[in-house]
Symmetry: C2
């Protein structure tokens, strides 16, 4: 049976595999590694690549932390005082080239054991992959979602539709009335109680999601990393990064939770771009690629139909 | 007696006066004006200046809105269903020159009338001025705080100490364990119940705070707007702006409330800079001006002692 330790090891190996592959794809910069410990228990390994050929700023974070669960969490879950354990891999890559998308992946395992020996413990898996193109291309969106559907279908024919909708709802910038990008899949609290799948089956699914990251990203690197662009494309990329910052700091529950509970700030905020812009009441030119992208930042688009 | 209408008119006149003065100080760019209405009642006038000689991006917003108070607010205040009215002027100026500080001012009036005719209504004034220098200079900080103390002392000898501490606590970036800048004054819920002052005295205080804005800003424009700087100073300014964005999007209650209650996003987020940067785990050089500034981003510094 897969233990906490097995999960941790597998996540760490995945981090290494992904970083090795990204360095190869980038061809110029290498990851810098920061090992850190959490005073209350556990720690992590944060890897950051900057000023690459393909990636301007990217982070691949592994962590495995444990301790007493904050009251906020136990209350929200209807638990009494409990110990928790959480491990995961989290990635955000901001590319140099505006034709390249921003990509985000996260996979995680969480469990909680009440101090009351009579009370039941719980665990779950969560995660997802989602894409934030600066310019939305329907064919690319189709490719991306199809790749995610393939992974989902291996585990459960219902997963893709459920988790695609979940991503649409989660990665929504409410105050802009637009989605962060073209979504992807998002899932949380997967466990035997909520699903028709065993612990081992859920774990397989999570590993498969993690393994899908590089093939998907490679498609975009090969297609766009060296595509010529002009200054206006770069300006637009900076504005879209501004929206990314807004989502992460205002709405993202993981970021909020991390900052609220004294997480390691530099690891949490490695998701922010090297630079971003804000322009008061920016309006794209009618008929432009920028306007087309804005018109596609909506929930419930059937991207696969464009594959 | 001063009516809602008088307050609104005075705030609007102050907005015009401040914008006229800022255009003169800037010498290059003019404010663009956007009149807007709020579907649920009221509206505002947002004025934004961009690409100036002194100001890179600055907003001076006036609003006067009314309607049914959101349940979140009435619950928090222990009120039943109520109508509210709120008017105020809000300013954030991001300068071009890194030697210039970012400045923020807000003054506001709020009242609430329960629908239950037996229940008592309430009102209050709130606001403040605070400064976020990219480089902290003790003498300037002394000047700034002394100017605020002078305004406070006209109304109440206790005000400056109370409101200076309130600003220290409010403008604190918890996840960075640093203050946003050198603070200033911050006050809220000033009314006859909480203070030893009449409505008219409190209103006078708020007007005096508003009138202090231009003289204070002028000091910095004259001293720093044309001081030569190098690329590393500009880079540092962008990093400090990143922190400003973090505070506003993560911790600022006004921003959060506006975004949560479907306020006019472009007016709320006019506080964000034209551009900002993030650098993973940035460490200033030992003994540098940047390090000195970081060492001064703390609560409870007696700035006036450096005047």
């Amino acid at each position: 049976m897969t233990s906490r330790n097995d999960i941790e090891k597998r996540f760490k190996a995945l981090q290494k595999k992904i970083c090795d592959a990204l360095e190869k794809l980038d061809g110029k910069s290498a990851f810098r590694s920061d090992q850190w410990t959490r005073p209350e228990g556990g720690g992590g390994l944060t890897k950051v690549l900057t000023d690459g050929e393909v990636i301007e700023k990217g982070g691949v974070n592994f962590s495995a932390v444990h301790g007493h669960a904050p009251k906020k969490i136990t209350d929200a879950l209807g638990f009494g005082p409990s110990k928790f354990y959480a491990t995961g891999v989290s990635i955000v890559l901001h590319p140099q080239n505006p034709w390249m998308p921003i990509i985000h992946m996260n996979i995680r395992y969480f469990d909680m054991s009440p101090e009351d020996p009579e009370a039941e413990s719980t665990y779950w898996f969560g995660g997802g992959i989602d894409l934030t193109p600066h310019y939305v291309d329907l064919k690319d969106a189709g490719f991306f979602h199809k790749a995610l559907k393939t992974v989902c279908d291996k585990s459960d024919p219902m997963y893709y539709d459920r988790f695609k909708k979940w991503a649409d709802d989660y990665f929504y910038i409410r105050h802009r009335k637009e989605t962060r990008g073209i979504g992807g899949i998002f899932f949380d609290r997967l466990n035997e109680m909520n699903e028709q799948h065993s612990f081992e089956e859920l774990w397989d699914f999570v590993v498969n999601v993690g393994e899908q990251f590089i093939p998907v990203y490679q498609y975009f690197v090969e297609k766009y990393a060296h595509k010529p662009y002009d200054e206006p494309h770069k300006q637009w990329q900076l504005l879209r990064r501004g929206r990314y910052v807004e989502f992460n700091l205002v709405w993202d529950k993981g970021t909020k939770f991390g900052l609220d509970t004294d997480g390691r700030t530099e690891s949490i905020l490695m998701s922010l771009p090297a630079n971003a812009s804000w322009s008061y009441d920016y309006q794209p030119i009618a008929g432009s690629d920028e306007e087309k992208t804005l018109s596609l930042l909506k929930k419930d688009i059937d991207w696969i139909s464009y594959a």
